[in-house]
Every structure is written in structure tokens, then in C-alpha cells.
């Protein structure tokens, strides 16, 4: 057993231990992106696992109680729709048909309990479609001086 051997052996041991730790840590904190259809297709495995659910807000389904900070809406991928429940304010400009990603877990009552609601938007922002003015949504706030 010379010095070199101990050195190499020690290094391998440390690396293995560290690798094992990382691998375990990684496995436990992976969050998958799914659509409502994909989530329900998982069957029993759909429940109580953290996922990111992506879809569009179903028109007319949004129920936001500002006093209670209680937000409920339905999220759909066109085929399946899932009720989402979130404690906390929706992101600014949250509205019908908007693409959103919610992070949380699907509970036994068939409601997706979300800890965060993110608006899905590409960073390559582009001009709004013809005839739509973002100004419309906030102009009501300008008061007569």
C-alpha cells in the first residue's frame, strides 16, 4: 500500500460518494412538464407527484377572489381539462385562453393544487395581433384630471 494507491483509492471513494449523493438528489427533484391529457394518462401515478402542467386557461372559468387570495380556473390542452386551485394572486394580465404553466400536484379530489402560476410566453416578444391594443386593458385607469 503505497501513498499513491491510497491517494487514488481515496479519490475514487470520495467521487463515488459524491456521485451517489448527486444522483439521489437529482432523482428526487426532477419536475416533469406535462399536459392535462398526459397527466391523466398516468393513472394512479398522476396523484400527489410534483409536476408542471401546461395548457390554456378555459374561457369563463377564472374565479379570482382577491380578498381570500383564492384563484380557481380550468386548464385545458384542447382535449382534457383540469381544475386548478392556487393560493395567491394570478400573474399580471392573467386572462382567458392565455397559455400558462402551473407547478404543483394533482390531488385525490381531482383538483390540481398549484404553488405557482406562470404565464407561458416566449421571450422573443412580438407585436400583438392586428386590432388588439394592450392599452385597452389599462386605459380605464386614467382618470380625468
Amino acid at each position: 500500500m503505497n501513498k499513491r494507491f491510497i491517494g487514488v483509492f481515496g479519490t475514487v471513494l470520495v467521487l463515488t460518494g459524491f456521485g451517489y449523493l448527486i444522483w439521489g438528489g437529482l432523482g428526487g427533484s426532477l419536475v416533469y412538464f406535462v399536459t392535462p391529457t398526459e397527466l391523466l394518462a398516468r393513472g394512479e401515478a398522476a396523484y400527489e407527484t410534483p409536476v408542471r402542467l401546461a395548457g390554456n386557461v378555459v374561457p369563463g372559468s377564472v374565479n379570482w377572489n382577491a380578498r381570500e387570495l383564492d384563484l380557481r380556473f380550468h386548464l385545458s390542452d384542447g382535449e382534457t381539462d383540469i381544475e386548478v386551485w392556487s393560493k395567491g394572486a394570478p400573474p399580471a394580465m392573467f386572462q382567458d385562453t392565455m397559455g400558462v404553466v402551473v407547478e404543483g400536484r394533482y390531488n385525490r379530489a381531482g383538483i390540481f393544487e398549484s404553488s405557482s402560476v406562470m404565464v407561458r410566453h416566449s421571450n422573443e416578444y412580438k407585436a400583438p395581433p392586428e386590432g388588439h391594443r394592450p392599452a385597452d386593458t389599462y386605459e380605464a385607469l386614467i382618470r380625468e384630471e
Binding site: L26, L69, A89, A92, A127, A135, Y138, L141
Partner: protein, 683 residues
Amino acid sequence: MIRLIGYSATLFSLAAAVYGVIAAIWGVRSKRQDILASVRAAAYATFGLMLVANLAMVYALVTKDFSISYVAQVGSHATPFGIAVISLWSALEGSILFWGLVLAFCAAAVAWLHRDERSDMFAVTNGVMLVVGAFFYMLMVGPANPFGAVFPVPMDGPGPNPLLQNHWLMAVHPPLLYLGYVGMTVPFAFAIGALMSRQTDERWLWLTRRWTLMAWAFLTAGIVSGMWWSYEVLGWGGYWAWDPVENASLLPWLTATAFIHSAMVQERRGMLKTWNVTLIIATFLLTILGTFLTRSGILTSVHAFAGGDIGYYFLIFMGIMLLGSLALLAGRSEELRTTGSLDSPASRETVFLLNNMILAAFTFTVLLGTLFPLVAEAARGVRVTVGEPFFNRMTLPLAVTLLFLMGVGPALPWGRPSAKHYRKLILPASVAAISALVAVLLGAGLMATLGFAFAGFAITTNAAEFLLGAGARRRALGESPLVALSRLVKANPRRFGGYTAHLGILVMALGIVASSEFTLDHEVTLGPRETATVGAYTVRFDDIWGRQEPHRFVVAAELAVFMGDRRVATLEPRLNYYEMSDQPITTPAVRSRAHEDLYITLLAFERDGSSTTLRVMVEPLLVWIWIGGIIMFVGAGIAFTYRGPKDGKSKPRAPGVPVKGKVAQAGQAAGRVRAADKEEVPA
């Protein structure tokens, strides 16, 4: 016209760089100095041409010349002058153009500073700078051409990304980061120069020391300003989310930090030669990886610009650089053999070795967590994210260990410690114990308690170096305390610059630990004149108003803040709506004090003004994160003033002759000062 000037300048930069690379190879082969002189000329030329191209683009942005594709993409008539100028780095093509300028500046500076050197190492170094340059100029000429023609010429454009327009920090964060990223090319070029010319002594380390420090300082400033911007603009009260692009900036910082430390072990002991070259190559490759991740559109992130196939170019370039460097490293393993050894396990060298192991593990963890989603998607076709818990759980123990090492390092000598050195640890250890006790009483968790304890420990040992040194000077030379302190630092800029940087990161660590452990966070909906109380603050909702500004529409809530019965502030968190974007940009209102920040974001409001939903956070010691960042920058600046030994060469000390031994022998305070002054000059 401007389009033609700009495009020609980029085209000629590419030509000059390609010529320079060929000339460098030719000149080294034929040993002709006249050809090597033309390599330097090529480097100067690329700088001049890049300057022209960048000025042309800024001119076009300011004068709203929408016939140029980049201006049509990010310009608009409503954009104010200052924002038009900084739009240079608001999207892919412009930021590559700016990158090219910084890189060309570095290449020209390296060529100019060493214009009298005649050895092959410098020729290769200049050549490598131009190889990297040629890659970026090639991007500008082809796939990321900012000077494309637009026809028909639009009347107006969309304006730059709203995130860029919303805060002054966006004027400084990107250039600082680029200086840091691009600066790391220089040590890489020198390392390749040393390897290729087989001049693998410590010369290249000395030559690149100040470049590495400069790049490190700017990278630090770039990262911290980015954290600050995130805190001031994104409205979630945090500053670091383990976002892939944040990670991309952290990775080269970690390896560069490791290098700055391990380079000293090579100087002193002749050890870690291969490791140092590896670290510098890794740092460079990680900066390219960072650019690839940010600029290829491969990741979803706050920072990602959408970009077509430019990712492939980066991938290929990175692959070539990686394989080339590895092959070169393998071919030179004989030259990189270790000549020294460790005297004692409890020496400063050992602490540096541990520091490097931890930083390497840190880098590996972050790299894995960042790249895993890409690999998973490529290999298995699933979209997945690696959550923050992974990064926090894996890196916190490493970070806490680093705090501990920062405390032990300065207290231990090079070579062999004596009882005196162990006694020096008594006071810091008591500070650590008290900090831990206080933390536990405040209800901190395990990691936070360790964080407080080790930060307290390390602050004491680092500060003690300043106080003891200045005290010795004061007694021996009769200097006033402030004069003694400044002369002490001046006499040993490298050592005390290092301690200053340590103090900076330790202060930052206190801010990070305190604000992540003890933050109060409430969301609340208020009607007119209603109040909410968070911590020591009572917030009253007074009014909500909207206002049209030239390039945006602003909605702000007017809040009165009370502490007890005393009104202490009026805060106005805002939502800014930009003309061409559906998404408003939040602008939280922050009241910063030394002991805590009050941070309020406007989340939602009723159009008739009947209610507003706010997020109110109280974050203790948060402002020290930014102050710590500034101290780190200053520390690197102090260390930068040390120019190294006159001949630029150093010999590793003979084992068993630690310089600090002389200090111990001298005993007298005056002797201590003299020895300390000399300490930086190798025996």
C-alpha cells in the same frame, strides 16, 4: 451607407483575424519576426474595425435607421436616446457585435502589452486570441448578421425588450458580464501559448494573473449586478433562482475562483500544474457554453434570446476547442510534472487544495443540474426541469464548507504551522460559537446556523490580519492607525486584496443566509385606506393611478408606510406596460436599510381602484449582498495593483524553507513588518 460601413467592418475583421491566425502559424514555423509583427498588426486592425462596426450600429440605433435589420428588430421612434444606445445588447445580433468589440480590445491589448516579446509563446497567444475572434466575426458576417438589409424599410419598430428598458442596471449588467466572460479568453490563450511552445514554467501564470483578476472582478460585478437587477425588477423578492443562464454565469466564476487560488500553490510549491491549465481551459469553455446556452434559444429562461441555428456553430466551436485543448494537454503531460510536495496537512496549501476540490464539486453539481434537462430531452424526449431544491440541497453544504475554509486559510501559514498559528484560531472560534448560539436562539435551521457561525469565524480571521498587521506597523513605525492600515495594504496588495475579497463574499454570505432564513412574506388585498401589518411595518393603501409616459404606460399604487404611529415612507410599486408587449413589467418599491429591506410588489388591482393586491416582504440584511459584491470588486482591484516580480518569473520555494519561518524568528514587531513587506517577492 451606415449599413455598408458596418457590414464591411465586420467582414474585414474576419479577414484580418483569419490572416492573423495563418500568419501566426507561418511566423512560428519560419521563425520570421516580420510576419509575427503582422500578427500583432492584425489584432490592432480587428479592434479598429470592431470599433467602427459598433459605432456604426449605435449611430443607426440612435438615428432610427430602420433599413438595418437589427434596428428594425429592436428600435422604435418612442425609444429615448440612452435606451437606444444600450439596445446594442438587447438582442442576439447586437450582443454578439458588442462581444466582438470587447474581444478585439483584449486581443489588441495582449498584442500591444507584449509587443517586445520574441518568444513563440506570445505568437501562439496572439494567434489563439484571433482564432476566437475569427469565430465571433464569422457569426456576425453570416448567421447573426446585425447589418442585414430590410426591404421595404418599416416606418417604425417594436423597441427593445421591455425588460431592458425598465431599470438602469440593464445599462451596466450586460457589459460587465461580457468583460468578465471575454476577459477569460486571455488566460486561455496564454495557457495554450505556453503548452504549444512548451514554456510551461510559471511565466504564463504571472502574465495572466492580472488578466484573470480583472476578468474575475468584472464577472463578479456582472453576476452581482444581475442579481440586483432581478431583485429590483422581477418582483419576486429574490435574486437567484438557479435559472440555467444564472448558472451559466456562475460556472466560469467558480472555476476562475479555483484557479486564482490554485495558481498560488503552483507558484509556491510547483504543484498542480496540469490542474491549473485544466481550470483555465475549463473556465474558457464554460464561458462559451454560457454564451451557447443564452444565445441559442435552447433553454427557456429570462435571458434566452430566440435564435435560429446559431447554437450549432457554438456547439461545433466548443467541441473543437475542447478536443484540441485536451489533446494538447495530453501531449504535454511530461512538461507539467509536479516538482514540489506538501509539508504538512495543516498548511495553507492544504486549505487551497480543499478549496479547489469543493469548488470543483460545486461546478460539477451546477453543471449537471443545468444540463440534465437538455440531455433528458435529447435522449428520452421528456421535458423536465431540475428544481431549486436540488441546487440548494447539494450546494449549501459546499458553500458552508467554503466559508469555513476562508476562515482557516488566512490563519494557517505556507509550509508548517506552529503552536502560535493554532492559538490565533481561539478568538475566531469563540466568535463562531457566539454567532451559532445567536442564530439558534433566533430559530435558524442547521445550514443557516453553520453559515452564520463560519461567516463570523472567517470574518474574524480575515479582519484580524488587517488589525494585527496595522497594529505591528503602528507600534514599530509610530504610524497613525489609518496610515498604518493603508500602507500595510499597499505593501502587500496581493495578500490584502485577497482578504478584502474574502470579507466581501463573507458579508454577502451573511446577507444571503439572513435573507433566505428570516424573510417575512405576505400577500394581501387591500381596499382604499385599509392597512396590513408585516413585521414592524404597517402599509396603508391610499390610491392607485395610471399615467401615460412617452414609451410606456404606468400603473402605480400609492402606499403609506408606518412604523408604529410614525409615517416613514411613501412607496409606489408599479406595473409598467410597454407599447408592444402584452406583459406588464413589475417594478417593486424597495425601502432599503442596513438591517432590513421592505419590498412591495403590486400584483393585481381592480380597474375601478376599489382594491389592490400586494406582496409585502421584509428581508433582513439583504442590502449587504450588494455591498459585499462591491467589496469583492474592490478587493480584486487591490490585488490587481500587484505587478508580480520584476522579471515575471518565479521559482517555487525549496521545500522546508517556509518564508513565514523568518517572521517567527524575527519576533520583533519591526522585523515582522519588514518580513511581511517582503513576503510577496519569491525567494
